[in-house]
Amino acid sequence: MFECLLCSKKIDVRPNLLLLLTGYVPVRDRLCDACWQTFKEIGPSFCPGCGRTEKKKRYCLDCRKWQKRGMAMIENRALYQYNEEMKDYMARYKFIGDYRLAPIFAGKMRKVIRRRVKEEKIDLILPIPLSEERIAQRGFNQVDAFLPVFAKKVDLLAVKASHKVDQSSKSRSERLRTKQPFELKEGMKEEVSGKHVLLVDDVYTTGRTLYHAAQLLRQAGARKVSSQTLAR
C-alpha cells in the first residue's frame, strides 16, 4: 500500500513487474492527483528577468528595482509558481528534510536544464551551495537532485564561514541588504573566465542570493550568467 508523500492519502499503484521486482514506484504515483494539481506552472507569459508569471512579457516591479540599482539582469526561468502548496513542498523537502521528496520535480528540472544548456550555449552548471554546517545537518543540498547527471557541473562557490544565518529566518528587507555570502573557491577564476554560467536554485524569492552569486561570477570574468529555479 502506498501513500501520497504530501497528504498521506492512499494511492492505488498498478502492480507491474518493476514494482514487484525492485519496489520502484514511478514518480507520478508518489503524490496523489489532488496534490499534483495544486502545483501551478509558470506561464504562458512571464517576466524576462525573474521568470515569474506576468500578464505581459515585461520586467516586473521587483526586477525593475534591480535595474535601477544598476545590476546586470540575470535571466531566471522557473517551472512553478511559488504558491502555498509549493511553499509547503519546500518546507517539507528542505526544512524538515524529507529526502523522499527530492525526485518529485527532479526529472522536470533536469530536462529543462538540459534544454537550456543546448539552446543557450551554456558552458557551466553551478548549483547554489549551502554552508558546510547546513549540509552536515540536512544531509543533502536540495538543489543537487535537480542537476542533469551527465552535464558539466562545477563546484565553484563556497559559502563564507562568517555567513551562517539562515536566509529564511530573515525578513525580506533584511535579506535584500545582506552582504555577499559567497566566495570563489581557490584557483577557480580560470574556470569561469569567458563562460556562460547557469546558476541553479530551488526558489527565487527576492533574487538576492542569485544576484550575489552572479555578481561574483561576472567579476571573475564570466561572459554571461543565467539561472534556473524550480519556483518563483
Binding site: I96, G97, D98, Y99, E133, A136, G139, F140
Partner: protein
Amino acid sequence: MEKEELYGRLHTWPRNRPVVEGARVLSVLEGARCRRCGGRRRAALPKGESYCLDCLALGRVSTLDVLLTIEEPNDFVPGSKLRWKGRLTGRQEALSKRLIENAQASQNQLLWAVTGAGKTEMLFPLIDWALTSGQRVALLSPRVDVVLELAPRLQAAFEVFTQVLYGAQEEHYKYSQLVIGTVHQMLRFYQAFDLMIIDEVDAFPYRNNRMLERALHQALKKEGRFLYLTATPSRKMLSMANRGELVLHQLLGRFHGGKLPELTIHYDPRWRKRMTLSLKKSLELWYFEKKPFFIFVPAVDDLALLEKQVRQLAIGRGTTVHATDSERISKVADMRAGKYDYLITTTILERGVTLPNLQAVIMGGDDPTFTKEALIQMAGQVGRAKDSPLGEVLLFASGPARSIRQAQREIRELNRKAEENV
C-alpha cells in the same frame, strides 16, 4: 538553548553542534529502532545516513542528529497553586479523594465516567495535590480540540505557568510544572512526569497505537503513574483492572442528572443519494428552534454529498470539517460562537465539544469507521451542556450492524446504572 528546556525532554540536536553543558547525549537509534518513537520505517539520506519515517510529523530525527536530555529535577516553586473555588457533588468529592489516595500509594488508575460527568473538575484536587508536592504533571488528550478546550479551564484553575503543546502551535517550548497537550507530544519527553492523566484513552488515534503507548511510558518517570480516563473502556483496559494492574473507578451518573440520548435508528440504504422526508423535517425543525446540529459522516468524500443535500433545504449556515482540515480548530470555534447552524463532519469532532442544545445525525452508522465507542461518544455529545440536557440523535444506516446494536444496548445500560446510582 536554555538548560531548563531540556529537563525531562528528548530534544533533537545536530550531531555537529556543540552540546549544552550537563546534557546527556542519546543516540537516535536503539538497534534498528528509532529511540524517539520506536519505529522501524526509515528513509535513506546520501552517504548511508537515514531518518525515521514513523515520527517525521514531529520533525526529522536522522542519524545526523543526537537526542539530548537532562534528568528531570522538579525545579518548581512549592505550595498549592489552586485558584478554583468551585464545589464538587458528594459523589465527585468522594471519588476525587480516592484518586489522591491511590496516587499516593503509587497505583495506576482508570476512571470510567460517562461524558458530562464533570470529570475535569473532579481532577482538580488530584492535580492540586501533585503540584503541591512538587510533582510534574501532564494532562493529555488524543485530540487537539479537547486540548484547546481543557487548556483555558486548567489555566484558570491553577496559578502556575502551563505549557500547552499540540502540533500546529508555533509558541516556543518553555519548562513548566503542568503540561497540557496531545498524546503525540509525549514523543518529545523522557522520564519527565510524576503523574500523567490521559483523557479518552480509548479514542482514536491512541487506541491500539503502539507508538503512542510507548511514548507515554517513555515520558513517565520510572516511579511515576498514570490516570486513564475513559467513557467507554476497552476490553484491554478492563482486563488490566481485573488483573490488578489498574485501580478502576466508576462514575456513571451524568453531571446534570440527564441521560445519554438513545439512538433513533432508521434504515436507509440510499442515504448518500438523497435525504428522507423525515430527516428533512427534523433538520428544518431544529433550525426553526435555533438548535445547532452535527451531521456525522463516515468518510471525507461524504462531506460534499451531505453538504449539497443540506444546502437544498436552505436552513442557515453550515460548513464541513475533516481530520486534516487546516481550519478545523477555527471552524469549531465559529460553531461555538454561533456563526454556524450546523457542521458536517467526519468522526473527528465526536469528543470534547460542548454546545448547548446540540442535536446530531449519524449518517452511515453501520460503516466500520463508527465503532461502538464512537457511536456512544457521538450520542454523549448531544445535550452535553449542563443547561440543556435533552437532545436527539438520529442514526441512518444501510442496514443493521453489531456496533449499532451494542451501542444502543450500552447506552440503555449506562442510563439504567445512572438511575440506580443517583
